[in-house]
């Protein structure tokens, strides 16, 4: 199995440590949970942090390597004949590793404060550590089977964490829904593996991508679509997105880490990882790009109609991942990944900021019962404000650069209408994010719950959030500014340069320049902001906010309150028919038809028994008659047989 295709050399045992440290944290927290008490949080975050440091070390070592490429690989063991597992660190996985362990560390650390006093404190950190381990498995694996293992395990971690408060029926249902939909995705990846192994006879990335050129277009398309089913389920793409808003039943740090920063972007990773396959199939790119764009738009529209602070963020996550998928789907890999990168920071920040609010309001999540909080929680307000500015793509903030790249990337790769969708979505994004900000923080406080701010240990929650503000504001500019000459492009050059050139050669250069799109985006964003301001932030709006919000809720179109009927459709098409068939088979077919048929046989046997018994009348002469009848048959036979012989 060769990794040379990915430009990676050497073996690197440090990777194993990087990979397994969080697992150790999980096992310790799980096994010794009650004994550890709050130590569990420190231990878990410490181990994730150590993992991050190792990742940095890896990066450092990798950039020193002779070939001048970033990365390393480490064979692990042979799972079964033909299935060799190994770890692979290349620019792509390195980036994800940074986010998983880096942002992961901050969020786990934040959780120490957020989960304080929870009866299952240690269990939470066991799950979180386990998630980090699983996600590392996903991104570090050097083959599809290993990726699938990680793919499944992150789904499990997500399930555990969504259903963390498992006495809440809603959480339990949400966890199950998330898991089942994620299994749909797993199954898609599995199917892709079948096709790959049947055609390539290996599940390694290297072998697969090396063979990508030799596979027929039908095969490639099948693989890509199957993989995309996985990506869509994991990354909440239409129509498999319905689990993500429900997943907000989990504790807020979970939403920040799993359902915003890392796990839900696994689909982006998968598509970027399989760039050689997507490059080989224009149809696949079209499908994926379209669905990405559609998700971005739908997520944004639904985001405007939510009242739950976390659900707004969830739909925004969905929408933002739509951007990413659109980016990597259309071939603008660097742009899509950039969007992931910046999103990880500002969305984590937004969630953690929202977590501060929720925590302070004793788990109140409805923004209609908030308001005026900027006075009571200025820190949270500033955190949220920077996050909102970044996500809305206000020039200068990280989100601006990455979103710009994605939108322009669509155009660049020959999908002008996706470009249009991207622009419109940007405007809607600005609208609903500012709506969130204004309704939550401006005006007068509308809730009943008392607001607790500060208290001992508040710094545990505040510090990570504060740290996150820095990259969410600045990292975009630092890395992305400069287009093809940016550090970002340089970093990914070994991976995507060839494809980028290939794609550029195929598609005519767009008539519009990048700067021109940027201007349009800024204008649209400004429009979105203005509408939000008009509706929620003017003095009049602030004054009778209660009535206005109620009216808005009452006049909300049914199609929005019903979330475009996706849940109802899935229920009607899949869930209820399955249950109906199950009931029919279990209650009717088994007992009536199958057992009925067997019962008939038994009845026939019993009937024969009765028949036999009915000949046993007990009357001697009847017996004699039967005897003579038999004898007559015999005699007849022998008379005929004797004569015939």
């Amino acid at each position: 199995m060769t990794h040379q295709v990915l430009g990676v050399v050497g073996s690197y045992p440090l990777l194993v440590a990087l990979w397994l440290l969080p697992l150790a944290g999980a096992v310790i927290c799980w096994a010794l949970g009650p004994q550890l008490r709050t130590l569990a949080g420190w231990l878990a975050s410490g181990l994730v942090g150590a993992s991050f440091i190792l990742a940095v070390l890896c990066w450092h070592d990798g950039t020193q390597s002779a070939a001048g490429t970033v990365g390393a690989n480490q064979p692990l063991f042979s799972w079964m004949t033909g299935f060799d597992f190994g770890l692979l660190l290349d620019p792509l996985s390195l980036l994800w590793t940074f986010i998983i362990t880096g942002v992961g560390f901050l969020i786990v650390f934040y959780s120490i404060g957020y989960m304080r006093g929870d009866p299952a404190f240690a269990r939470f950190f066991a799950y979180m550590s386990f998630f980090v381990f699983a996600m590392l498995t996903l991104v570090l694996s050097d083959n599809f089977v290993g990726l699938l293992v990680g793919w499944g395990l992150v789904g499990l971690a997500s399930y555990f964490l969504i259903g963390f408060w498992f006495d809440r029926p809603a959480a339990v249902a949400a966890a199950r829904k998330a898991f089942v939909i994620n299994v749909v995705g797993d199954v898609g990846v599995m199917f892709a593996i079948f096709v790959i192994i049947a055609n390539v006879h290996s599940s390694g990335f290297g072998d697969t991508f090396a063979a990508a050129g030799t596979l027929g277009p039908g095969v490639i398309l099948t693989i890509c679509i199957a993989l995309f089913i996985g990506a869509a389920a994991k990354s909440a793409q239409v129509p498999l997105h319905t689990w993500l808003p429900d997943a907000m039943e989990g504790p807020t740090p979970v939403s920040a880490l799993i359902h915003a920063a890392t796990m839900v972007t696994a689909g982006v990773y998968l598509i970027a990882r399989c760039a050689p396959l997507w490059n080989a199939s224009h149809e696949a790119q079209l499908v994926v790009g379209t669905i990405g764009g559609l998700t971005a738009l739908l997520g944004a529209i639904l985001g405007t109609a939510q009242w739950d602070i976390k659900r707004i963020l969830a739909y925004s996550t969905m929408s933002q991942i739509g951007y990413m998928i659109m980016g990597v789907g259309t071939g603008a890999y660097e742009a899509g990944i950039a969007q992931f990168f910046t999103h990880a920071f500002f969305k984590a920040q937004l969630f953690l900021g929202a977590g501060l609010v929720i925590h302070a309001l004793s788990d109140e999540q409805d923004i209609r019962r908030m308001g005026g909080l900027w006075k009571k929680m200025p820190f949270a307000f500033w955190v949220m404000l920077t996050g909102v500015l970044s996500i809305s793509g206000v020039p200068g903030f990280s989100g601006f650069f990455s979103k710009d790249e994605v939108i322009y990337g669509a155009l660049q790769h020959g999908h002008p209408w996706l470009d249009g969708i991207g622009i419109v979505t940007a405007g809607i994004t600005a609208y609903y994010m500012f709506r969130l900000l204004f309704v939550t923080f401006l005006g007068e406080y509308r809730g009943e719950a008392p607001v607790h701010v500060g208290g001992p240990g508040a710094w545990i929650m505040n510090v990570p959030v504060a740290i996150l503000v820095v990259p969410s504001v600045a990292i975009g500019g630092a890395l992305l500014f400069g287009g093809d000459a940016s550090p970002w492009a340089h970093f990914f050059a070994p991976l995507f340069a060839a494809q980028a050139h290939l794609a550029a050669a195929q598609t005519p250069a767009p008539a519009i320049s990048e700067n021109f799109t940027s201007v349009i985006v800024v204008i649209v964003v400004a429009i979105g902001f203005i509408i939000a301001w008009q509706r929620y932030a003017t003095a009049a709006a602030r004054r009778d906010a209660v009535q206005r919000l109620r009216r808005e809720a009452e006049t909300m179109p049914a199609v929005l309150t019903n979330l475009f009927y996706f849940d109802a459709a899935i229920d009607a098409i899949f869930v209820r028919p399955a249950q109906a068939w199950g009931l029919f088979f279990g209650r009717v077919f088994d007992p009536r038809v199958i057992d009925g048929a067997v019962g008939e046989i038994v009845l026939i046997a019993r009937g024969l028994g009765t028949l036999v018994r009915s000949f046993q009348t007990g009357l001697l002469r009847a017996y004699a008659l039967i005897l003579v009848f038999g004898a007559a048959c015999f005699i007849a036979y022998y008379a005929v047989a004797g004569a015939a012989h």
């Binding site: 006495d167 339990v172 199950r176 898991f179 089942v180 199950g582 279990g586 199958i594």
Partner: protein, 469 residues
């Protein structure tokens, strides 16, 4: 005395001797039973693989009491002995002494089945292994009809097996053939002989539409017995397919694979759909078995290397997780005195260990990557796809999705949700109860992470025996 003989006779003799113990001494019965099963496990591990043979018949065909493990049966025998030890350790039923004796008898007869190298001896133990279960159903079952259903279906299978064995012996001249290389039956009779075997195997597995004995049986038997029956006895048919049909009549098998594939696929989806809506927790697992074992039948009908390897892995995996599932459901029933899912709920708060055990088993059952079930599923389906069966593979994938739905429904329905006030509050797993499921869980994880040892020695494509290292 050769170890292979010891491993078969030890449980049988122990079962008989156990009946001389005083009736009331439950702890002693359990202890002795567990010890015997554990020793049996050790003997299988240590030397149950060497051959031992005693001449039986020379006419109308050659037959011998020939025992010894083939690479496949070695693993199944290990699974069996492990499951039995765990089941006995977990047993809490009334009339425990008799129950333990029955479990040991079941173990001995099933060891005889899996370790026999002679078809006639195989057929002998086939019928024999049904008897302890019948007695358990008679003595401990809830509905008299269940015992009949088990009995009628399985002995009907046993009879066709008998006829097929006789015909095989007459045509081939010897039945001392299991695991022997180069045995191949062809010709006009072969399809009929195959049909005789296949019917017995399909009933035992079971496969739709021969499955209706299974859910009530699994539900009615005391859970420890169910765990052995569902975990291991259900593998008898699959092992039979591998050791007899695949090995000796591959031509017939693959020429008539289509109906098998169809039945397997129907079982896969049918079992999953019914499991989705059952309310009796043991029936959920029973129907899930129908679905899961359909996958193995599918693999056998496809029959390429990957599928067969997957079948072996999945046989072991399914044995482990269904054993755990039933044991844990037994614990639940014992604690809460009900098996109805709507009446259960919220146990996870007070019983974290119980909840954890059920969780791991349920996850293995739904094919979570990293646990043993996944390895088997993946290999099987790769094999299925490789042979060009795209739609069967897709149907199986649908069943996997359904599996996640019903397994989570089962797990969450029992463990999650608000704490119920109408259920008795009981303590979490005791040490013994925990130890009874721990080895099975450990094996599930171990084989999921590293299933290679299972396949290293199993020359499964031809199912020929060779000396195990």
């Amino acid at each position: 005395m050769p170890l292979v003989l010891v491993s078969i006779l030890l449980p049988l003799v122990a079962a008989a001797l156990l009946l001389f113990l005083p009736r009331g001494d439950r702890a002693l019965s359990r202890l002795l039973g567990t010890a015997v099963a554990a020793i049996t496990f050790a003997t299988v591990l240590a030397g149950g693989t060497a051959d031992w043979s005693l001449h039986w018949l020379s006419r109308p065909f050659v037959s011998a009491f020939h025992f010894g493990a083939t690479p496949i049966s070695f693993w199944i025998a290990l699974l069996l002995t492990l499951c039995t030890a765990c089941a006995i350790a977990a047993a809490r039923v009334e009339r425990l002494r008799d129950f333990v004796a029955l479990l040991l008898a079941l173990e001995g007869t099933m060891l005889g089945l899996f370790l026999s190298r002679d078809l006639l001896v195989f057929a002998l133990f086939w019928d024999l292994m049904l008897v302890p279960v019948f007695f358990a159903l008679v003595g401990w079952g809830e509905h008299p009809a269940t015992a009949w259903r088990y009995f009628i279906y399985n002995f009907a299978g046993g009879l066709t097996l008998l006829l097929a064995t006789a015909a095989f012996g007459v045509i081939y001249g010897t039945t001392d053939v299991i695991g022997l290389p180069g045995v191949a039956l062809a010709g006009g009779w072969a399809p009929w002989i195959f049909a005789g075997f296949a019917f017995a195997f399909l009933v035992k597995t079971p496969v739709w539409p021969l499955h209706t004995w299974m859910p009530p049986t699994y539900a009615d038997l005391p859970s420890p017995m169910t765990s052995v029956v569902a975990g291991v006895q259900s593998k008898a048919g699959l092992y039979g397919f591998l050791a007899i049909a695949t090995a000796m009549m591959p031509g017939v098998l693959y020429r008539h694979a289509a109906p098998l594939i169809v039945l397997a696929l129907i079982s896969l989806v049918y079992g999953a759909l019914v499991a989705l809506v059952q309310n009796d927790v043991k029936r959920i697992v029973a129907y899930s078995s129908l679905s899961h074992l359909g996958l193995i039948v599918l693999a056998i009908a496809i029959g390429n290397r990957l599928a067969l390897e997957g079948a072996l892995v999945y046989i072991i995996a399914h044995g482990l997780f269904s054993a755990v599932l039933f044991l844990v459901l037994g614990y639940v029933e014992e604690r809460e005195e009900t098996r109805a899912l709507p009446r259960l709920g919220g146990l996870g708060w007070r019983n974290p260990r119980l909840s954890g055990a059920l969780c791991i088993a349920a996850l293995a059952a739904l094919g979570l990557p990293g646990l043993a079930g996944f390895a088997g599923e993946l290999l099987i389906l790769i094999g299925v796809y490789q042979n060009g069966y795209v739609w069967p593979a897709i149907v199986a994938l649908v069943a996997i999705v359904l599996a996640s739905a019903y397994m989570l429904r089962l797990y969450q329905g029992i463990m999650n949700g608000p704490q119920r006030t109408d259920l008795p509050v009981r303590a979490d797993l005791t040490w013994i109860e925990g130890l009874a499921v721990a080895p099975l869980l450990a094996a599930l994880v171990l084989l999921g992470v590293y299933p290679k040892p299972l396949l290293d020695n199993a020359a499964i494509t031809t199912v020929q025996s060779g000396p195990l290292p």
